[in-house]
């Protein structure tokens, strides 16, 4: 049954799919991915300057995943992820200034400086974090989907996690309950091939993460996570499946992170050549930009204009963050209980 559903889901062509991929939407994809890229580069720079501390996990290389998925959502759908979360927040429409201010530990940050890189939330944008414990967000996302069913809405919850988290037991506890109760949750495994320094092959008995739902009758599909249009199409199918009350769906995004696991990762577990080759051939932003130019959807001037706009946004975010005050000492003891 799972196999059939899997095949049906991946073969299904949403009616009017092409029409919905308007030039405006495709240009927005490009711009949104670029915003995440430039934002993360700036975050890396600020980390190097000592303005961002602790753990800082950059999303560079994986931008197509969140941008494509977000386009498949309605505003009332929810998003939750683990700690490599800056891209998800920007894709959800959270303010880059508020995110950067949180990264720099300022009061104007989304968590008033008390959460940091791994712990940010926006009820307004239906972004439920930002969770630092690998895999712990998966039952929580399942619970958000449970609340949708309880409330009789047809909202769905996107629950992102990595190939590392995919080996946590609570992921499978969640799969079981989600299928048992037909909860509208899309599990998105961002397979960037390395759980910190351990490659998928060294950590996973079944490396095809989209098949990991078979034991629970949850359909899944593998997606080229470096191709924003492929992500968008798969995302729309999966969201339609969950929204129709058919239960959870697993999307495995084959992607790659260009930077280390965190800022302090020397990345000795993979070769420089491996990284270089993927950056040159599969960069989700460059390849997509070239495609849009070839197809006449963007011109070189558009690329320049978008890049200029995005750099301006990121610079403003950075200035806002570094100009903002740190939280007052009294903030130490607030927000512990309601």
């Amino acid at each position: 049954m799972a196999r059939e559903a899997l095949a049906a889901a991946s073969d299904r062509q949403a009616p009017g799919a092409d029409a919905s991929r308007s030039p405006e939407l495709l240009k927005k994809f490009y711009r949104d991915m670029l915003l995440i890229r430039r934002f993360e580069e700036k975050a890396g720079q600020l980390y190097g300057m000592g303005l961002i501390g602790g753990f800082c996990h950059l999303y560079i290389g994986q931008e197509a995943v969140v941008v494509g998925m977000q386009a498949a959502l309605r505003p009332d759908d929810q998003v939750i992820t683990t700690y490599r979360d800056h891209g998800h927040m920007l894709a959800c429409g959270m303010d880059p200034g508020g995110v950067m201010a949180e990264l720099t530990g300022r009061y104007t940050g989304y968590s008033h400086g008390k959460g940091g890189s791994m712990h940010m939330f926006s009820r307004e944008k239906n972004f439920y974090g930002g969770h630092g414990i690998v895999g712990a967000n998966v039952p929580i996302g399942t619970g958000l989907a449970f609340a949708n069913v309880y409330r009789k809405t047809d909202a769905v919850c996107l629950t992102y996690f990595g190939d590392g988290a995919a080996n946590q037991g609570q992921v499978y506890e969640s799969y079981n309950m989600a299928e048992l109760w037909k909860l509208p949750v899309i599990y998105i495994v961002e397979n960037n091939q390395y759980a910190m320094g351990t490659s998928v092959k060294r950590s996973s008995a079944e490396t095809e993460f989209h098949k990991r739902g078979v034991g629970f009758n949850i359909p899944g599909a593998a997606v080229d996570g470096m191709d924003v249009e492929a992500v968008y199409k798969a995302g729309r199918d999966a969201v339609a499946w969950a929204r129709a009350g058919k239960g959870p769906f697993i999307l495995e995004m084959k992607t790659y992170r260009f930077r280390g696991h965190s800022m302090s990762d020397p990345a000795k577990y993979r070769t420089r050549e491996e990284v270089q080759e993927i950056r040159e051939k599969r960069d989700p932003i460059d390849t997509f930009g070239q495609r849009l130019i070839q197809n006449g959807i963007m011109r070189d001037e558009d690329v320049k204009t978008i890049d200029k706009d995005v750099r301006a946004i990121v610079n403003r975010a950075s200035e806002f963050a570094t100009d903002s005050p740190e939280p007052a000492p009294e903030e130490l003891c607030t927000d512990i209980l309601k």
Partner: protein, 454 residues
């Protein structure tokens, strides 16, 4: 002649009701045949014969309540014995008559008259109804579920089975399977799912069959439920209750028998409640369900069946974080919570006979911990003994002792003493288990010691 004895059908059962006989005198029975139905405080169980034979006499009539475990309830004659005339049976020592079994039934444990349970905020003339802690907890959940459609209960065996300890009895029938949800055995998963539902605006009550199994879910309780309000700068919040039996049970050994009070009491972002009396169980559980924060609600399996007066009010809600002086005294302050309150009440009666008047404080909540009431009491009595079932190191008593020493040092006439569970995993053997638990004798000895009385 074989005597058939009243069986123990749960780890904590001491007596039960002989609800129904499936055989009558003279019937032949086979091994494995159902003889009777026996009602414990948790369930009605079928009771099978171990031997083959013929029922010679039924000693306890059906419908008899309070039949003690190990009392003979019937006699079985085996092959070869059958010819003996009934008159030849010389077994005067056997078996009390049904009426005696009934009469011998002890009354359910009551709050001694000495306990001052009157709540100053109760309207004058409030009627009290004797209620088990079990029913008080159920009533609290039912009332809150009637009041707020966002409140739901989930956990293992809470719905169709009516609760492993029968706390959720009748809730499935009243509220349906949308709001009373049986989960798979998957503590980390359903605790996390509950947290997500709370983030999504619902108010889950998550039942752990016992808090021993909450260990599997500890990350979700501490890292997700307790900390997210802080980590989100006040945006999120997690209105959830994690509840279930905590503390040593009876004869279930180390993994199923321990007190987690001080573990949870240490965590900022949680509230922790651990009542003893039925009224507090009801009023505090209602408060916990309404609280916008994650609340750990620690119950006690052995206390579930005890009855105490509960005020008959439409909406009895108590504040979390307030202890109560349940007995005034001038010579020594005894502080405890949960089942330990029963122990200090017994100790106080013994001490009174020796002229030592103990002031008793039931903490009720462990976070916030109402140390102010303890300190004020110590300023009057100048002596304090803490009592708990948890381990001694970094215990609730350790915290109270530290605060008393810090804030009432000049009032102390003796060092604070702790009576706790012993610093060992819980043993299985009955004698060792007894040694591992705090006893009334130890409390009496500690109280006398701080009073410098032998």
């Amino acid at each position: 002649m074989t005597q058939i004895l009243m069986p123990a059908l749960s780890p904590t059962m001491e007596e039960g009701k002989l609800a129904k006989w499936h055989v009558k005198e003279g019937d032949a029975v086979k091994a494995g045949q159902i003889l009777a139905e026996i009602e414990t405080d948790k369930a009605t169980m079928e009771f099978e014969s171990i031997d083959e034979g013929r029922i010679a006499r039924i000693l306890v009539a059906e419908g008899t309540e309070g039949v003690k475990v190990n009392v003979p309830i019937a006699e079985l004659t085996q092959e070869g014995e059958e010819a003996k005339p009934a008159a030849a049976r010389a077994a005067p020592e056997a078996a009390p008559a049904p009426a005696k079994a009934n009469g011998a039934a002890p009354a359910p444990v009551q709050a001694p008259a000495a306990a001052n349970l009157a709540d100053p905020d109760l309207p004058a003339g409030t009627e009290f109804v004797n209620t088990t802690v079990r029913d008080a907890l159920r009533d609290a959940m039912a009332e809150e579920m009637r009041r707020d459609p966002d409140v739901f209960l989930m956990g293992e065996e809470v719905a169709q089975y009516q609760g492993a300890y029968k706390i959720s009895q009748g809730l499935l029938e009243e509220f349906g399977e949308r709001r009373v949800i049986d989960t798979p055995i998957t503590e980390q998963g359903f605790a996390g799912l509950g947290v997500g539902a709370a983030f999504g605006g619902l108010k889950p009550i998550v039942e752990f069959m016992t808090f021993n199994f909450a260990m599997q879910a500890l990350d979700q309780i501490i890292n997700s439920a307790a900390k997210t309000l802080y980590m989100s700068g006040g945006q999120m919040g997690c209105p959830i209750v994690f509840r279930g039996p905590n503390g040593p049970a009876a004869r279930v050994a180390a993994q199923h028998s321990q007190d987690f009070s001080s573990w949870y009491a240490q965590v900022p972002g949680l509230k922790v409640v651990s009542p003893y009396f039925a009224a507090d169980a009801k009023g505090l559980l209602k408060a916990a369900i309404r609280d916008p924060n994650p609340v750990i609600f620690l119950e006690n399996e052995i206390v579930y069946g005890r009855s105490f007066p509960v005020p008959k009010l439409d909406d009895y809600v108590l504040p979390i974080g307030k202890s109560r002086i349940i007995r005034a005294g001038t010579h020594v302050t005894l502080v405890s919570h949960s089942i330990g309150v029963g122990l200090i009440m017994e100790a106080a009666e013994i001490l009174a006979r020796d002229g030592i008047e103990a002031e008793l404080i039931d903490l009720r909540s462990l976070r916030p911990l109402d140390t102010a009431t303890v300190i004020e009491s110590v300023k009057r009595t100048n002596r304090v003994v803490t009592v708990e079932q948890g381990w001694p190191i970094c215990s609730i008593g350790s915290e109270i002792a530290s605060q008393v020493v810090e804030k009432a040092f000049d009032y102390l006439d003796a060092p604070p003493l702790k009576v706790t569970g012993k610093d060992v995993p819980m043993p299985y053997a009955a004698n060792l288990e007894k040694l591992a638990l705090p006893t009334v004798d130890e409390i009496v000895a500690a109280a006398k010691s701080v009073c410098y009385r032998a």
